[in-house]
């Protein structure tokens, strides 16, 4: 009975708040009135990485800072700014971390080169295999 009461007390206990209680930024959870601009904003937000949740885009995250980023992106697109300019603005502050569409840099070039190299190797392998098979028949 006591255990049950304890378990019940746990259900009632308020979690320690380690997050703010401010209302979200104006456009964190509100879409833009113009569907074309909203589509632009959504497309950008889905490729901007949340700063505190590692593997989510800001479109997916409920973290307050992600909400603030969404609101700022919507407001800037509303004002007519180009989505790629906003991406560049964010990359200038947070580096490649913040974008899910990587640029080619001295660090990221293997990302782009590896598939080409692997495809080339596979092609060589296939040629050797088929080449040998033909050689056997002859």
């Amino acid at each position: 009975m006591r255990r049950l009461a304890l378990a019940f007390a746990l259900v009632l206990a308020a979690p320690a708040a380690a997050d703010d209680t401010m209302p979200p930024a104006p456009y964190a959870y509100r879409q833009l009135a113009d569907p074309v601009k909203e589509a632009k904003a959504t497309a950008l937000m889905e490729t901007i990485r949340c700063l505190v949740c590692q593997s989510q885009s800001i479109a997916d995250s409920d973290a307050p800072i992600a909400g603030d980023m969404r609101s700022q992106i919507r407001e800037r697109i509303q004002a007519g700014e180009d989505p790629e300019a906003i991406r560049r603005w964010l990359v200038a502050r947070y580096g490649d971390y913040v974008t899910y569409t990587p640029r080619v840099t001295s660090v990221t070039w293997p990302l782009f080169a590896a598939p080409v190299v692997l495809l080339g190797l596979a092609g060589l392998l296939v040629r050797r295999r088929f080449g040998r098979a033909q050689g056997d028949k002859a």
Binding site: D20, M22, L51, D68
Partner: protein, 184 residues
């Protein structure tokens, strides 16, 4: 069956799978011993502060603008919030930094005035100026990704150093050193 003699692989290739497995285990162990850092460093180091002008976050301190940082002397810019638990841990360290001569300005992120007043009453107020950033606008503009973070800003308003997370007591001399370097 076919009677064709297959070319035999050299003997050492027998050990290749084991070696690959060993390398994989090594990689996992390395990841466990030295976990990857999850910090997102600001790319704004070496660049001037962006333009901003924040309203006062507390009754007894003025608000904060980027102009307050180009008056010739390096300052610390502390990004914090009353709802952030490590910020409470950091507060006495900031007071110690202030006691040793550091000039500190603060930006409170998404903070209610009443909560902040309580936080400052509990933990002391080492800040010269206190700006309120309710939508993380300045935080995003300087490339800060969380609370607490502390930036060293030189006397010309240029960001010189970023400390991510709370400043530990043993890091006080290092922070003072960074301030001194920014003043040279």
């Amino acid at each position: 069956m076919s009677g064709i003699e297959k070319p035999r692989a050299p003997r050492w290739t027998l050990w290749l799978p084991l070696a690959l497995f060993g390398a994989f285990v090594g990689l996992v162990v390395l990841g466990l011993v030295h976990p990857a850092s999850h910090d997102v460093p600001s790319q704004m180091i070496g660049k001037p502060l962006p333009q901003f002008n924040l309203p006062a976050a507390a009754d007894d301190r003025p608000g904060l603008g980027n102009g307050d940082f180009s008056k010739g002397k390096p300052r610390l810019l502390n990004i914090f919030a009353s709802w952030c638990i490590p910020c409470g841990v950091e507060a006495p360290v900031l007071s110690e930094l202030a006691r040793q001569g550091a000039e500190i300005d603060g930006i409170a992120i998404r903070d209610h005035r009443a909560d902040l007043a309580g936080f400052l009453a509990r933990n002391g107020n080492p800040y010269t100026r206190l700006g309120a950033d309710d939508v993380s606008a300045v935080q995003l503009a300087i490339g800060s990704s969380g609370v607490p973070e502390t930036f060293v800003i030189d006397g010309h308003g240029v960001i010189r150093y970023q400390h991510i997370g709370d400043i530990r007591p043993e890091e006080v001399p290092m922070m003072l050193e960074k301030l001194k370097e920014a003043g040279e």
